[in-house]
Symmetry: C2
Subunit: 400 residues, 2 copies
Amino acid sequence: MERWSGLTADEMQVLETTFWSSGGSRHGVAERLGFSKSKANGLIAGLVEQGLLAEAGLQRSSGGRRAENLQLNDALGVLIGIDIGATSLDIAVLGPDLRPLAQHTEATDVRQGPGVVLARVRVLMRELLARCGHGAKQVMGIGIGVPGPVNFQIGQLVNPPLMPAWDGFSIRDALREDYTAPVFVDNDVNLMALGELWRLKRSLQNFLVIKVGTGIGCGIVVHGEVYRGAAGSAGDVGHICVDQEGPRCHCGNVGCVEVMAAGPAITRMAVQAAEAGESEMLAERLRTQGRLDAVDVGHAGRAGDAAANGIIQRAGNLLGQMLASVVNFFNPSHVFIGGGITHIGPLFLAAVRQSVYQRSLALSTRHLEIQYTPLGPQAGLIGAGALAMQETLKVRGIAP
Amino acid sequence: MERWSGLTADEMQVLETTFWSSGGSRHGVAERLGFSKSKANGLIAGLVEQGLLAEAGLQRSSGGRRAENLQLNDALGVLIGIDIGATSLDIAVLGPDLRPLAQHTEATDVRQGPGVVLARVRVLMRELLARCGHGAKQVMGIGIGVPGPVNFQIGQLVNPPLMPAWDGFSIRDALREDYTAPVFVDNDVNLMALGELWRLKRSLQNFLVIKVGTGIGCGIVVHGEVYRGAAGSAGDVGHICVDQEGPRCHCGNVGCVEVMAAGPAITRMAVQAAEAGESEMLAERLRTQGRLDAVDVGHAGRAGDAAANGIIQRAGNLLGQMLASVVNFFNPSHVFIGGGITHIGPLFLAAVRQSVYQRSLALSTRHLEIQYTPLGPQAGLIGAGALAMQETLKVRGIAP
């Protein structure tokens, strides 16, 4: 872990650039940093010698010559990425290039409070590290996503509506007992955005990631960086009003998109359709399972159930209505939709697109792409790993 | 004009920093650029000697010692700022520190097309330059704001709804006949945001400027820079829906905030109130003037007219409803409201605030300030001047 004490600012920049362009060439690193070839080559050779960078495999360049694939050296250690959702928990041990070495997913309920949930997280961290032959000492950095507003500087949740017991709790302190590695906490959807940004190697500058699960949130990338807002609550789009006559939300207002189009709303509409005799398929599922969720609605829809398709269309249109406002304001190049909703299938996406294209200005949508998150359910974990690596590099870079 | 050919990158940085912190000290410039005191002093001395910087007046520092007020040298030349609104035209000749040397305002109608409007602009530019003893040769740069979406790179309007005749017209070419200085074109409200950013010396990082006039637009500042979006249409908030049952807008959708709360909507509501006998005061004004506008509604409201106050409240609430969505998404520290609406008085602002605080999340509004633009009607002109100076410095910096 002390390998990188005493590195120069130039060397830290090479490490960071390599991380963000994993598998890139020496030449690419030089170009990105505006360094001469010989300067970059010198720095890279030094870092390879110190065991910080590795030249893995060979990259076939267009001219027929072969260039090395530069990446952070696996020997540096591992990262831990943790993605805590309202009802699910994902943990992974990742290499410095964010390759998952061991991974585990299970159901959880964040309302149990930080004591219960983080005790389980600590057990899983130990198990996963052991599974890939590592211990606490090999951990370079830990990144955690949580489903609520986070004060990023102090790494604490602030007034989280879905998990009030976590308000002001220090997640960092809870993990400090087992690990000396730095711990970084961010909102779950900010991390999905960071994950996609890393996957894209920063090739898109201005895009959004919308997570639709128990709640609805948005990660914002501006000028190639995650934007958190003046108080860290940017992207809190779940309580944008889409119907002045709509139902009351737990936030106190009416017609919030979250109360009308997120997972619980879809379940509620499905149960109503089943009980009202509008859908034999949903009624059958409700009888056999005792409950319904978005996945069931998606299944029924794909099997041609009209009521299910009506629900999907309605939820998609409402989400699209909210997105239209955001697209008019922000003019992103891409909107990626992730979270549990993605299991519902392509009709939902079609309904979102229809509604956005109808309500947004032509100039905002001319080149706008709306699709499901390319990283799928891994987006949050990869983002947590990217946060851990990026911030660890920054912390190390500042230290003497 | 050729004074700054051959300047080094460091020297250009000192000029730019001085422009953005006009009246700051040598020490402040050094600090902002991360230069040592001696390096900064050397650069500044050289630039003063070349006639690019001036040390004007004395700044009393807290320690009792006196430091010089650094600023760009007036001898560099002048800037021209032009703010073309849908119905008004403002032009100013400005010093390098954006002090207006000569200024003119008149009514216009952009629907007359670029030929008519720009011919008048060219006449006024000549007159104003003559009035302060300058000619075309002293003009360093020209900044123009227009009320529609602009492709900033090529300096042209793209599908402007209020001024279709300007679509794709080259404003730059129209002015190139008279001036060799570079011409920069941007959306009017982006320039208001740039103007406020300059006034603030970049001390706020994330804020919005909303212009409410014939239309409604928004300038966005992110991380201390004006944000224009993927296609240059960011901030196009006028067509965000605030009422699914609302009236039809010229964009084709219903219930856009622009068709319900901008200047023409206020006029329409005022005429209706006058004709329906709901307001003797507005009816009297309509009889004597033959027309009504937001200023009349403001006057009547301040004189205690209940119908006028109802209109102001309604327009403010609708604008606030749109802003609530934007505040939830963007979490700015400040929202500055400008444009013709500011003449309506403080009740409008109170109605906007009420609506935003009611509909936005607590975390987004805890430190949120909503006020009229501190630069008032000058915001667009100052922004046009700031654009001209900033981009001219960039262009000069790139040239050999």
